[in-house]
């Protein structure tokens, strides 16, 4: 899983020197993407665990 505070800090550092509104917007929104990725990774891992340990397979 991503270290979110590290990721957000790095994004904010890059945003600080960025003069383009478009680039700042894209950088800011990358935080949303990384959270969505983490959420989906967790969901898929949970589903994999659930299916692997299904009582049907015992």
């Amino acid at each position: 899983m991503t270290d979110k505070s590290w990721f957000d800090e790095e994004v904010d550092k890059l945003k600080k020197d960025e003069t383009s509104f478009t680039n700042r917007a894209l950088l800011e929104h990358t935080k949303c993407l990384i959270r969505e990725q983490d959420k989906r990774i967790q969901q898929l891992q949970d589903e994999l665990d659930g299916r692997t340990w299904s009582p049907d397979k015992w």
Binding site: T2, F7, E10, V11, K13, L14, D17, E18, F21, T22, N23, R24, A25, L26, L27, E28, H29, T30, L33, I34, E36, Q37, D38, R40, I41, L44, Q45, E47, L48, R51, T52
Partner: protein, 234 residues
Amino acid sequence: MKTLVIIAHPKYDNSMTQGFLKSCQKDIDSVDWLVLNREYPSYNFDVIKEQERLSKYERIVFQFPLYWYSAPAILKQYEDDVLTRAFTYKNEDGVLNGKELGIVTTLGEPIYHYHDGHNEAFTIDELMKPYHALAHKAGMKFLPVFSISQFNYLTEHEKVSLLVKYRNYLTNSHLNSFKSKQLWYIEQLQLIRQNLKDSKKNSMDMLIDQLQNNYDKLDELNWELSMIKKEEDE
């Protein structure tokens, strides 16, 4: 992929929303704009020129404010004149076959008004059906409608979000896929990286690596899951 945005707006030069949307993508080489009200103020379309123009793009986007549940009149006249039968019908070798048609519409009312039982009674998807029918007739893939509601009331944060989603709508080649969305973001960050100072490039590389690692992880998990599901089916 090349995108053409065709705008119908009688007051285009005074529209803050259109100005914002233009600024969102002015740096993208693969997107071109045609403002119908500027190019053809008296509605006398150069049909051959416009048909040739359309044939050069893979994604065509009609962009307009919603006037009486439809586009401003100039877009209808454009359709009537430029989209001739031989040029458009899929079953008569029309040249639009295989392209995509998108709609960007701006609304003066809150988006939640466009629902069954609410103030406007119909959804935006229902109101946009004539464009869906046109796409169907032409053999085009109809993209999800992109609605922008009450632009003037958006907060700074909401405008940031709008900018990213709008750029994605114009330039992401597979709009309905999360996989493609991730690759699109990575591509956007790589473009920003090109103009960074050397000292900043390292930070950007780390962010891109993290996104790429997560992308690979998701891909791997999806593959494992599909294998398990396949086994379960057998």
